[in-house]
Symmetry: C2
Subunit: 282 residues, 2 copies
């Protein structure tokens, strides 16, 4: 009789690999990983036991965590959903929750297994070679349950995230998507658009890089994030991002007018407002 809990990590990249490292420290766990690509499986094998098929990975698993990009979550849920039995908990880590929740609720029986999750953890580096056992430490994890998720299943998801040092919070999927559209998806778009403007200028005058200081570097760090991950996110959460992008753009139009006017009092109060808000965030 097996007493060890089996945890399957599907898609061992930065997030999956970091989970593996955090979970490896615990006793009584059997950790198994799987990646779609053989080259990724090979890399992941430095972190945990890797198997060659999805079926082997999830067989008799107590917990399955889908850590691959947002657009792969639903296809994987459809594939896995029919194969799991008993008390198996399935989670994902996608930054998009609304689309996934709505579609998952249409898959019969999935409510007894799948609890949608989104840990607010990441780096601008991707891939399992950047995995970090402390990636989740003190980071928020949004849990956006399906309407028919049994409470015990949701509690199991909460316990799971706490066990790796994260701070799980229950959230409505729509609210979640609105929040992260503003706090994460829009900044990624803005930072990438900004470095592209900078890139255009470097073509004309290469020496401009000497003027890229620490403020520039902080402001643009997220522009180096994984394009495959972020194209999924922008496409899937476009509706929410548009709302804020539009408001932001209209503010910039007003600011351009103010620059033409040239009132120092205006700019003082503008920067003071920003400083006051920024200082509420530690």
């Amino acid at each position: 009789m097996a007493t060890r809990q089996k945890i399957a990590i599907i898609g061992v990249g930065l997030l999956g690999g970091s989970l593996a490292l955090a979970l490896k420290k615990k006793k009584g766990l059997e950790l198994v990983g799987w990646n779609h690509r053989a080259s990724s499986r090979k890399k992941a094998s430095h972190l945990l036991q890797v198997v060659s098929t999805l079926e082997k990975a999830i067989q008799n698993a107590d917990v399955i965590i889908i850590c691959s990009h947002s657009s792969t979550v639903l296809p994987l849920l459809k594939q896995i959903g029919g194969l799991v039995k008993g008390q198996t908990l399935i989670m994902d880590v996608s930054s998009i929750k609304g689309q996934i929740v709505r579609a998952a609720q249409l898959i019969k029986g999935l409510e007894n297994h799948f609890v949608p999750c989104h840990p607010m953890a990441g780096k601008e580096k991707s891939g399992s070679s950047f995995a970090d056992a402390l990636l989740y430490q003190n980071h928020t994890v949004f849990i956006t349950p399906l309407s028919k998720n049994p409470k015990a299943l949701v509690r199991k998801a909460v316990r799971f995230w706490k066990s790796v040092g994260a701070l799980p919070v229950l959230f409505n999927a729509k609210t979640h998507d609105q929040y992260v559209a503003l706090t994460s998806h829009l900044p990624h778009l803005l930072a990438s658009a900004y470095v592209q403007l900078y890139g255009l200028q470097t073509k004309r005058s290469q020496s401009i890089s000497v003027a890229a200081g620490s403020g520039f570097k902080d402001f643009t760090r997220i522009a180096a994030s994984n394009p495959a991950m972020w194209s999924d996110i922008l496409e899937m959460n476009a509706e929410e991002v548009i709302v804020f992008l539009n408001q932001y753009r209209r503010h910039l139009t007003a600011l351009e007018k103010q620059l033409r006017k040239g009132s120092k009092t205006y700019w003082f109060s503008f920067f003071e407002k920003g400083k006051t808000i920024r200082e509420t965030i530690k």
Copy 2:
């Protein structure tokens, strides 16, 4: 006969205070500071000898560094210019060079003393209590000489900045202002406008702060910068900032359209372009 070199720091805040700390380590220097406000003089006195009047500070000084905000540089130059003699080198540290160079060239005799400078160093914290002896270490310092500056005077400025570990580069003032409009002034405006959008949302839904992760924090760090310093900069360099703000805003309009269309291929290439550019900056 005095053999010690006297260095006067006018406006001892973060930049002036950091210079004081870096210079204190050297032998054969007499360091004197002055601030307009008595309260700032009191704070600065923890770092160096502070005198009560500008005249006392600059009397017999070999080097005078104006470290106060951009809008105060020209008034101070007019005040100081007539009082200095011999080989005295005057420098500033303002982020704006064109306006200052143009006006300084109209002040008779100033070309024998004043070499305009801009060290690309700073923090989002201001005031002499945040001073840091290593602030200039390996940071670029733009030197934008007046057309009639004697070469020996410019070389003296170069040596000065090297002596505190900085990397001086000679630049045309107009080019400098264009470069920093793009790499520094525009990002400060964009980050502040962004946190103000975030601030509006927190009024509606306070719990949104739980979604402000490390990407958000990096992207918005510069929004906490000193409003007095930044209102000066935006007002004085408005002309150059407008050019890039306008280009950026038009790019955002195009991105909003793309979000409505929803093509993942588009977003992949968008984020990939940004990543490639960002990765050229270490």
